[in-house]
C-alpha cells in the first residue's frame, strides 16, 4: 500500500550532480600562480626547465617538504628527496602558455611580460601565497638547474 502511495507521489525522479570539493593543488589558478612564483623568484632570468618546475612544485606542497628543501639548501643536508611528476602541472603549464603568461623556449619555460605584470600584483598583495613566497625567497636561486640534474642522475642510479 505504502509503495503505491509513494509511486503516486513521485512522478519523476531527477538526479543533480552536486559540486564536489577540490584539492587546491588541482585548482588551475593555484598551480599557475605557483609556477609563476617559481619562475619569478627561484629561476635564473625567469627561465626554468620542466623538470625543475616539477621538482619545486613537489617540494612547495607542504611544510614538511618545504623544510626538507630548505635544510638541503642551507645546511647542505645530503639526504636527497624523491619527487613525483604530476600530470596536473603539465596541464597548468598548458593553461599558462595559452594565456600568454609564459613562453616556451626549446626546452625551457620563460615568464612573459604579461606574466611578470601578473606576478607583480601577487607580490604586492602581502597576504596571498605568504608561505609559498616566504619559502621561495628563502631558497632564492640557490637550487638551480644543475642541482636538479644532479638529483635526477642520483635518483636514476
Amino acid at each position: 500500500m505504502s509503495i503505491i502511495i509513494l509511486k503516486m507521489a513521485i512522478q519523476k525522479l531527477t538526479f543533480n550532480r552536486k559540486p564536489t570539493p577540490l584539492n587546491p593543488e588541482f585548482r588551475p589558478l593555484y598551480k599557475m600562480c605557483v609556477i609563476l612564483l617559481i619562475l619569478k623568484i627561484s629561476s635564473r632570468s625567469n627561465t626554468s626547465s620542466l623538470l625543475k618546475l616539477h621538482f619545486f612544485s613537489w617540494m612547495i606542497k607542504n611544510e614538511e617538504r618545504r623544510k626538507q628543501l630548505i635544510s638541503i639548501v642551507e645546511d647542505g643536508n645530503p639526504q636527497l628527496p624523491i619527487f613525483n611528476i604530476e600530470p596536473s602541472l603539465n596541464q597548468a603549464i598548458l593553461f599558462l602558455s595559452s594565456e600568454g603568461l609564459i613562453d616556451t623556449l626549446v626546452d625551457r619555460f620563460k615568464l612573459t611580460e604579461k606574466g611578470s605584470a601578473l606576478i607583480g600584483e601577487i607580490l604586492d598583495d602581502a597576504t596571498a601565497f605568504e608561505k609559498e613566497i616566504g619559502f621561495l625567497n628563502l631558497i632564492g636561486k640557490k637550487f638551480n638547474e644543475k642541482k636538479v640534474d644532479e638529483l635526477l642522475n642520483h635518483l636514476s642510479k
Binding site: 600562480c33 596571498a128 616566504g134
Partner: protein
C-alpha cells in the same frame, strides 16, 4: 616640508669634467626639454641623492641612466665616465642642507651620503666651511640608526615621526620605509603612471599603500590599527604564558595526586583564589583538598600518642585486612590496565585528528590565496578565471584533472566555506578527544597512586605477620611515620600551588584587561576626524577628475576605498576600468588631492610634488594646460618634467599666463663644465 633648491651633477672623464647645475624655486618648476635630453636624469638624480632610487626600480648605480655611470655621448664619441657625483641642496623651511652622493667612484662607496649643514651649492650666506657628516643608505639600519642612518636623519629633518608597521618578511615591527612614503608624491616616468602608488618598493609590509596614505593624511586609523595589532600580539603572548603556567600548575597538583577543574588550559578571569577548588580523589569520592589535609592531620594526631601494640595480639585482624587489601589491589591493577589500553588508543586518535587538521589548514590557506588573487585586476582578465579555455574558447571546468572526468568542482568560495566547516568539526573532535583523554589519564593516575599505596600497605602487613610476635607492630610505626611524611609533603606542596595560582591569576587579569581594551577599540578604526578627511579627499578627487575631463566612468560614483584609500568605483580600483589617458588623469587628480587634503587638515605631506612626463599617452595639450594651471595655484613646490612633444609652440600655449620657474637646457643636460659653476646655470 621639503624644498629642493638646487641640484648639481658632476662626471669626471679623461676629457675633463662634465655635468650640470640647476636651480629650483618654490612654486611651479617646469623642466622643458626635448625627449632623451636628460629630463628624467635630472629628476632621477634628485631621488638618488636622497637615497630613494628604489622608486626607480633599482638600488645604487643600477637605477641610474648610463650617462652617469658608463658613457657620455658627445656627437659620435663615447667618453667613459670615471667618477660621477650628485649634489642636492634642500631645505625644510628653516634649515638648509646639502647632500652629496657618488654614483660611481673608484674608492668611495655609493651607499654613503655626505650631509653638509648649509647651502653649499647656492652659497646663500656666503659661507663655505660646512661640517660634513657621513651617513649610509640601503644597509640594515638605515631607517633606524639615529647617528649614521641617512633616512633616520631625513625623517628628523622633515619633522616626521614615521610609525612602525608589521613586516611579513621576518614577522617583525619595522619602520615604514621612507621609500614607500615618497612614492605618494613623486610620480616616476614609467611605472609611476601605471597605477596609484605604483612605485612603492616591495618590503613585505602588510597593506603598505594604506599605511602610506594613513601617514600622509595623519589618520587616526593608523594608530588604532597599530594598537589593535599590538593588543592582539599581547593577547597571544598571554595565552602562551597562561598555558605554560597552567602546565606547571598541572604538574604540581599531579605530584600530589590532586585534581582540579577550576583552571582551564586557555586564559579566563579568576576573581579570587577561593574560586579555585582542589580535590583529592579517592576511587569512591572526591574530597576537597583542605578537607583531606584536615582529616590527615586528625588521623595523625589520633595515633601519635597511642602506645604501639606488639604484633602478636594483632595476627587475626591483620590476616583479614590482608585479604581485603589484596582483593582491592587486584581490582585496581585490572582497571589500570584497561585504562592504559584506552589511553593509548585515544592518543593515536588525537594524533590522526591533528594531522587531519594540519592538512585542512594547508588546503585552506592555498584556497584563500587563490580567492584573494582572483580578486586582483590582472587575473580577472584571464580566460581561465572565467572558465574559458584560452586556446579553443570552450568552457572548461575549474580543475586540472582530466576534463572528461564526470565531476563538478565546487566554486572556490564554496570550497573555502566547506573547508572551514570541516576545520570546525575536526576542532570539535579534537577538543572532546582531548577532554576525554585528560579525564582518563587523571583516573589512571588515581589508580596508580592507589596501587602503590596498597602495595606498601600489604608489604608492611606481610612483614609483620612473619616477624617475632613480641616486638612492636611495624605497620603501626610505619603508618605513623608515613602520615607525618605525607603531611609535611602536602603542606609544602600547598604553598607552591597557592603561589602558582597567584601567578596564573595575574596573567588572567592582564589577559582580561587586554581583551577589554581590544573590545573598546572602535570597530571600523576610523575616528570622526578621519571620516572628515576622507570625505574631503573624495570631494577633491571628484572635483579634480571633473576638472581634468575624466570621462571613462561617472565621477559622482567615485569613492575612496576604506582599505587601501585609493579611488574606486563599485569597489573596483578606477585604474582598472579607465582608458589609458583617463588613468593618467586619475593619477593627477589623486596625487594633487592627497596634497590638498593634507594641507587642509595639517597632515604629513611634505608639500612637494614631482611629476615626470605627465603628458603620457598623448594627453591633449588642453588637459595639460589645465593641469599646470591647477599646480600653479598650489603653495608648495612642484617640479614637472615635460617634453611638450618637442614643440616650442605647444609649450608656449600650454603655459601661457602662468607663473613658473623654467628649467631648460639646450641640447643635453650633461655638458662640459668650464670649471666655473655659474656658467652652467640655466
Amino acid at each position: 616640508m621639503i624644498i629642493i633648491k638646487a641640484l648639481k651633477i658632476e662626471a669626471k672623464t679623461k676629457n675633463g669634467e662634465y655635468g650640470s647645475f640647476q636651480e629650483f624655486k618654490q612654486g611651479l618648476n617646469i623642466i622643458a626639454a626635448n625627449n632623451s635630453s636628460g629630463k628624467s636624469t635630472l629628476l632621477q638624480s634628485i631621488l638618488y641623492s636622497l637615497g630613494l632610487e628604489e622608486l626607480l626600480g633599482g638600488r645604487n648605480e643600477k637605477a641610474m641612466q648610463s650617462v652617469l655611470k658608463d658613457f657620455i655621448e658627445i656627437g659620435n664619441e663615447m667618453i667613459r665616465v670615471n667618477e660621477s657625483t650628485v649634489f642636492c641642496e634642500l631645505s625644510n623651511g628653516q634649515e638648509t642642507i646639502t647632500l652629496k652622493r657618488h654614483i660611481i667612484s673608484q674608492n668611495k662607496s655609493n651607499k654613503l651620503i655626505s650631509v653638509f649643514n648649509g647651502s653649499l651649492l647656492l652659497q646663500e650666506d656666503g659661507r663655505a666651511d660646512f661640517d660634513e657628516r657621513l651617513m649610509y643608505v640601503h644597509d640594515a639600519g638605515s631607517a633606524m640608526d639615529v647617528n649614521f642612518g641617512f633616512h633616520m636623519f631625513l625623517e628628523n629633518f622633515l619633522g616626521w615621526q614615521v610609525p612602525e608597521v608589521h613586516s611579513t618578511v621576518d614577522d617583525s615591527e619595522k619602520k615604514l620605509y621612507l621609500q614607500t612614503i615618497f612614492a605618494s608624491f613623486i610620480i616616476e616616468q614609467k611605472k609611476g603612471w601605471s597605477n596609484f602608488l605604483a612605485t612603492i618598493p616591495y618590503f613585505g609590509i602588510k597593506s603598505v599603500e594604506a599605511r602610506v596614505i594613513e601617514f600622509i593624511l595623519k589618520l587616526d586609523s593608523f594608530q588604532i590599527e597599530n594598537k589593535k595589532a599590538k593588543l592582539k600580539q599581547n593577547e597571544k603572548d598571554l595565552e602562551t604564558k597562561w598555558f605554560l603556567n597552567w602546565e606547571i600548575f598541572k604538574s604540581l597538583i599531579n605530584r600530589g595526586s590532586i585534581s582540579s577543574t577550576s583552571i582551564q588550559d586557555t586564559p579566563h578571569d579568576i576573581k579570587s583564589s577561593e574560586q579555585v577548588t582542589l580535590y583529592y580523589p579517592t576511587p569512591d569520592e572526591n574530597i576537597e583538598f583542605t578537607e583531606y589535609l584536615k582529616r590527615l592531620l586528625e588521623k595523625y594526631n589520633e595515633i601519635k600518642d597511642i602506645d604501639v601494640k606488639t604484633s602478636g595480639n594483632l595476627t587475626n585482624q591483620r590476616q583479614n585486612e590482608l585479604s581485603i587489601l589484596t582483593e582491592k589491589l587486584n581490582r585496581s591493577i585490572f582497571a589500570s590496565d584497561q585504562l592504559n589500553l584506552e589511553i593509548f588508543n585515544e592518543r593515536k586518535k588525537l594524533e590522526l585528528l591533528k594531522n587531519q587538521l594540519l592538512q585542512i589548514e594547508n588546503d585552506l590557506s592555498k584556497n584563500e590565496s587563490v580567492a584573494k588573487i582572483s580578486r586582483l585586476g590582472g587575473i580577472v582578465s584571464l580566460d581561465i578565471a572565467k572558465g574559458i579555455c584560452a586556446t579553443c574558447h570552450q568552457a572548461v571546468s575549474d580543475s586540472l584533472l582530466p576534463q572528461d572526468l564526470l565531476q563538478k568542482p565546487m566554486l572556490i568560495e564554496d570550497n573555502i566555506e566547506y573547508l572551514k566547516s570541516q576545520r570546525q568539526m575536526v576542532n570539535a573532535f579534537i577538543k572532546s578527544n582531548r577532554d576525554y583523554l585528560l579525564d582518563i589519564e587523571d583516573k589512571n593516575t588515581k589508580f596508580l597512586g592507589q596501587i602503590s599505596d596498597l602495595r606498601s600497605e600489604i608489604k608492611s602487613i606481610k612483614k609483620e605477620l612473619i616477624t617475632d610476635d613480641r616486638i612492636p607492630s611495624v605497620s603501626q610505626i610505619e603508618t605513623r611515620l608515613e602520615l607525618r611524611k605525607q603531611l609535611e609533603f602536602y603542606y609544602k606542596l600547598k604553598a607552591e600551588i597557592d603561589q602558582q595560582i597567584e601567578r596564573i591569576m595575574e596573567i588572567g587579569a592582564e589577559w582580561t584587561d587586554t581583551r577589554r581594551q581590544l573590545k573598546d577599540l572602535p570597530k571600523n578604526s576610523f575616528s570622526v576626524e578621519d571620516e572628515k578627511k576622507l570625505d574631503f579627499l573624495t570631494a577633491e578627487v571628484k572635483r579634480l577628475l571633473n576638472k581634468y575631463n575624466y570621462s571613462s566612468k561617472p565621477t559622482n560614483e567615485v569613492k575612496i576605498s576604506r582599505d587601501k584609500f585609493i579611488p574606486t568605483i563599485n569597489n573596483y580600483n578606477i585604474a582598472f576600468d579607465s582608458s589609458a589617458s583617463d588613468l593618467i588623469r586619475s593619477i593627477w587628480a589623486y596625487t594633487c588631492a592627497l596634497y590638498s587634503t593634507s594641507e587642509k587638515f595639517n597632515g604629513n605631506h611634505p608639500k612637494l610634488l614631482i611629476f615626470d612626463e605627465p603628458g603620457q599617452h598623448s594627453m591633449s595639450d588642453k588637459d595639460l594646460e589645465i593641469f599646470f594651471k591647477e599646480l600653479a595655484t598650489y603653495k608648495c613646490q612642484t617640479i614637472v618634467a615635460a617634453s611638450f612633444n618637442n614643440d616650442e609652440n605647444i609649450f608656449k600655449s600650454t603655459t601661457l599666463g602662468l607663473r613658473y620657474n623654467l628649467i631648460t637646457f639646450d641640447g643635453k643636460l650633461i655638458k662640459k663644465l668650464n670649471g666655473d659653476q655659474s656658467s652652467a646655470v640655466a
